[in-house]
Symmetry: C2
Subunit: 643 residues, 2 copies
């Protein structure tokens, strides 16, 4: 892709100014830096988060980090992994606490590659992104802050945003012209305040929480598990951490308390004393306290994420909630990812500027769902459990198995929420990029939503064998996060689909197809070794054949356009425990006929866009043209006229 | 473990001098540096291998690197992975070559965690070790060479070896006093020559090979697979590499040729022209040649690996063979590993010095097996294939499935050798550490060899759930390579084995047990967080209970000695496809009764030492005392007398 960095009129002109180098700002910056944009990224802290703060990476976020090639750098720090959550409550007949049940953090009904939550200090995660940014020539400017900004597209259509930046000690100032401004400054966002965007509180109840990271010596057996503990002395949440550390969350006050004061505080010693009481009859002693903080928190959601689609907000600037579901950083990542590829699609000339209008509705809807979940969960957490019969049921083995015993409301809510908290349940509603019957693309080949492939939901996981090197690979990870749409051609049985596949290739090559319209300018000079974008910067095609690897001959079986993606041709020949009787497990998991095949268009961020049947003739390509035509910048699909 | 580095009489006294920083020297150095030894490590090259040389890491070696915590650093270089080997031969009816079959590089009958060969430039692998050495304070001294040495235990029992070292340009010299000297200098070992140790040639035939690493543009479809290609124009072997590179091995001459000259050579252009002819009808062009070398090679094996158990040889200094089986680096790693833990066991006061006498027979026997395999394989490789009926059988699909078609001798040899080449088939014969009926330890509780657990063979893989944090883990990897023996207590059904487990713990605590005899001096000051060696530097105990994780309460179910290893208590509750009907898959895979349990002692290098039944009373511990007593430095097991 042409680097955008050298295309600006002056050294003070940027593509984007990003304020805040927490998870949301860093994810946005990292994506855009990789895709060649010129970025001014500031943070008012002198260095990355030294201790404490967010630390939970949910299963889907780990998939995302892997797709960016950053997972191994995160895992190199040996984070704790939470596979199960344990619930502790007072026994029916006495004092202290007993374990009343455990539940998988990411149960097997969710098809996750990494069915655990990864716990690692936020500062270490930030540094992984910062190292990647540095490789791409972006340095975070610290400690700098934003003093003001204006945005006026009419006056300056190319660089509508003007931003005033200042060193925190006031010794130095800069004025930047930019195409975009992003506020990832956290809950007390200056940019949001300046825009006079209000915050809605879903639940008027506010809480004061204490949080403590440290190394403990204890005989509490679940100290390396995530635990929610209710006792007659109060409630606490235990989260294991790297380096033998453990995090304790303790609720210090609630606005439902008489005489609630949001400035209520508690010392380290008070919280430790409280934890000791709650954990009785188990002992706990601190060898070291790494971090301690007390903070009031309410549920809030920003009324708007942008006013003009030039100045955007994301992360904690848009939504605040209790820390217990471990969603803060993950939601931040997905806010940024959603915005990043859309800015890129618009600025690289692929998508109409209207695409940016999908950012707020997609992400605000997720935040609403999160808050509604958090609300339910937080209330239950602060309530006193449980009835004697619940405990009796829970202490029996059966309590660990769904449906075999009566469960209390807390456990039930928790289970229901697993899919959402893992990240796999996050989904986007119909719009121009998530096909629905109301979409402008109307073709009888566009399939209605199936259980496995619903536009707006994540593309499912599947194991396949790469044909060129016989490597067993994770199909969903094969195309890296590079801003391209991912076109998965499930080619079914080659003996059945041969003509349909050839017709597809022929029609993709027609001048006004979505594919040919967005061909690379340098298509004749592309290296033989380019794997992902040999023809277009905006698409990668992967072909999955329902046949054993050894029977697939790429040059013989696929037309040259598809054969060119030789590193993205796969045999659907791996057995899968979830579909044990399927001859072609990946086809089966997707709900795609293993004879006839089908096409799945996946957005650059991994969500299904549209599913189209694979048929002979031009209609399959036409359906794809119609889908992309709904948001592409150039006109597509008047194929006959232009040939 | 007490660091040995500060225990020497002078700065020129070392525990060991290691000559050569290739795979064998680096593995030895890395182990011993981690365990606290003072090392002088020299290499006559000014820097690590810049290009070319060995590049294949076999599946079992990858397990070993993981056990050392070095796998992710290797994988960060994105090596090529070979899952399948393709065989190409001339068609029966014409010119050129056709694929006559493919075979898994590490077929599923081998229970490998990583069923592929990892291909990465030797220099990158060397640097992973060097980085680890540097962390432990060892720098390779370059470019330095050895000029002479003497070894006399009678004159100087503590530092019997004197070594003269010199900078390669002669500007600087050093004389070192050491406990050991190791020659890892490769095929032309100075140390071996000085010791006048001869080389035996298993096969008198010698070959001249050309090897070329480069980036090519080709339409040969298997360029990313390992291929053995025979054609009317000669034979070639293809090995994929990282960074789009490919390695070609081509046999230039054989001593069976008329007028064979071991100094026969060939230019890059000649080898390329030859490759072009062999690959017809496919095209191949070089974009870049990274490395090219021509070398004569014969099969050789050193008569001795040591004369006095003070000066040792390993790696290519002991065995040379053709590069085709990809065994050089792997055999080198295992030579070094075998020697490393034995030197440590002796020097740390655990084992009798006689333990060192097991190095040569264990490793020489493996080298003999390797050469015998290489011999068979190399001969076949240079022969002209195949008969028409073989091709017909092979070109049909059935050729890919074992036993369904007649196979030519080459494919058959290859298949038979898979277990050996993967590293999982490497095994050691009976001796003091690998129990057999001839072993001094005679107890009716010591089991005869079972199919799964044979002393001298690798401890099998198994998935289990760690109790403290519910993490699903690879049991065989849970105890790192730290020089300790690994005692796996398969505890079976706790309701059945409760008393036997308590009796075991009681008897391990008896003064003269192997366990108590080698207790740490600082046992009262050991940190609460020490996971592997809370009681002894020489043993780690892991307990595997045949029960679901949630039912296991460590403090309730295990005596304190075993409960102290709380991070090494596992539930055998994971389903395994290899034993789909087993309730306790790990027990089943080991061939251990899931009710009664049993004990497996694994050597520090991962090989089974002895298997003992778990019974009530003192006999189980006595059997272990008898086993360890066969090679421990202190007297063990006269329990009654010393109590």
């Amino acid at each position: 892709m042409t680097t955008q960095a050298d295309k600006h009129p002056s050294s003070s002109h940027y593509d984007i100014v990003i304020v805040g180098a927490g998870p949301v700002g860093l994810m946005l910056s990292t994506c855009l830096a990789r895709w060649g944009y010129k970025i001014k990224h500031i943070d008012n802290r002198a260095e990355p988060t030294p201790t404490g703060r967010a630390d939970g990476i949910q299963p889907r976020s780990l998939d995302l980090l892997r797709n960016m090639g950053l997972k191994s750098a995160v895992m190199a720090h040996k984070p704790a992994r939470v596979y199960e959550v344990a619930f502790w409550d007072p026994p029916a007949d006495g004092k202290g606490i007993v374990r009343t049940g455990t539940w998988a953090s990411c149960p097997s009904f969710i098809d996750a590659r990494y069915p655990f939550t990864t716990l690692l200090h936020q500062g270490l995660i930030e540094r992984v992104f910062i190292a990647d940014l540095n490789k791409n020539g972006v340095q975070i400017q610290r400690p700098w802050t934003i003093k003001g900004f204006t945005s006026n597209e009419k006056e300056n259509p190319d660089y509508p945003v003007t931003v005033d930046l200042e060193h925190v000690d006031g010794t130095s100032k800069e004025t930047i012209k930019a195409k975009y401004l992003f506020g990832g400054e956290g809950a007390r966002s200056f940019i949001r305040d300046q825009l006079k965007i209000g915050i809605k509180h879903k639940d008027p109840i506010a809480y004061v929480w204490g949080v403590m990271d440290g190394v403990v010596k204890t005989d509490f057996p679940d100290i390396k598990m995530k635990c929610t503990i209710h006792s007659e002395h109060g409630s606490i949440m235990v989260i294991p951490r790297e380096d033998n550390m453990v995090r304790l969350y303790i609720q210090i006050a609630s606005s439902t308390d008489p005489n609630f004061n949001p400035r209520t505080t508690a010392t380290v010693e008070e919280v430790q004393a409280s934890a000791k009481r709650i954990l009785q009859p188990h002992s706990i002693e601190w060898e070291r306290v790494e971090w301690y903080s007390v903070y009031p928190i309410g549920q809030g959601i920003s009324d708007k994420y942008t006013l003009d689609h030039r100045v955007f907000l994301g992360g904690d600037a848009c939504h605040t909630h209790s820390p217990k579901a471990g969603q803060g950083m993950n939601t931040a990542f997905l806010d940024a990812l959603n915005l990043a590829w859309k800015i890129h699609a618009v600025e690289a000339g692929f998508a109409d500027r209207k695409l940016l209008e999908t950012y707020e509705p997609e992400r605000k809807d997720v935040a609403e769902t999160l808050l509604s979940f958090d609300n339910k969960y937080a209330k239950l957490f602060s309530q006193r459990p449980p009835a004697a019969n619940e405990v009796a049921a829970a202490t029996s083995q059966a309590a660990n198995t769904a449906g075999q015993s009566e469960e209390n409301q807390f456990i039930k809510t928790f289970k229901e929420s697993c899919e959402f908290t893992s990240g796999y349940g996050v989904s986007y509603k119909p719009n121009a990029i998530n096909w629905s019957p109301a979409h402008p693309a109307q073709s009888h080949l566009i399939r209605p939503a199936s259980a496995a492939l619903i536009p707006g939901r994540l593309f499912p996981n599947a194991d396949v064998t790469r044909v060129v090197d016989a490597n067993v690979v994770h199909l969903e990870q094969e195309i890296p996060l590079n801003g391209s749409f991912r076109i998965f051609l499930f080619a079914g049985n080659p003996a059945v689909t041969g003509q349909a596949v050839r017709d597809l290739a022929t029609n993709l090559q027609k001048k006004s197809s979505f594919y040919a319209t967005y061909a690379r300018d340098d298509i004749d000079q592309v290296s033989h070794h380019e794997r992902h974008n040999p023809h277009s910067h905006f698409f990668t095609i992967a072909t999955v054949v329902a046949a054993p690897r050894a029977s697939v001959e790429i040059a013989r079986d696929l037309p040259p356009l598809l054969a060119r993606y030789r590193d993205h041709v796969y045999a659907d020949d791996r057995w899968d425990r979830r579909v044990p009787d399927a001859a072609a497990a990946a086809h089966a998991k997707m709900g795609i006929d293993q004879e006839k095949g089908g096409i799945v268009v996946v957005r650059p961020d991994g969500y299904v866009g549209v599913v189209v049947a694979l048929e002979e003739g031009a209609e399959t390509a036409d359906a794809l043209n119609a889908y992309f035509g709904a948001f592409c910048a150039k006109e597509l699909g008047a194929t006959q006229a232009q040939l």
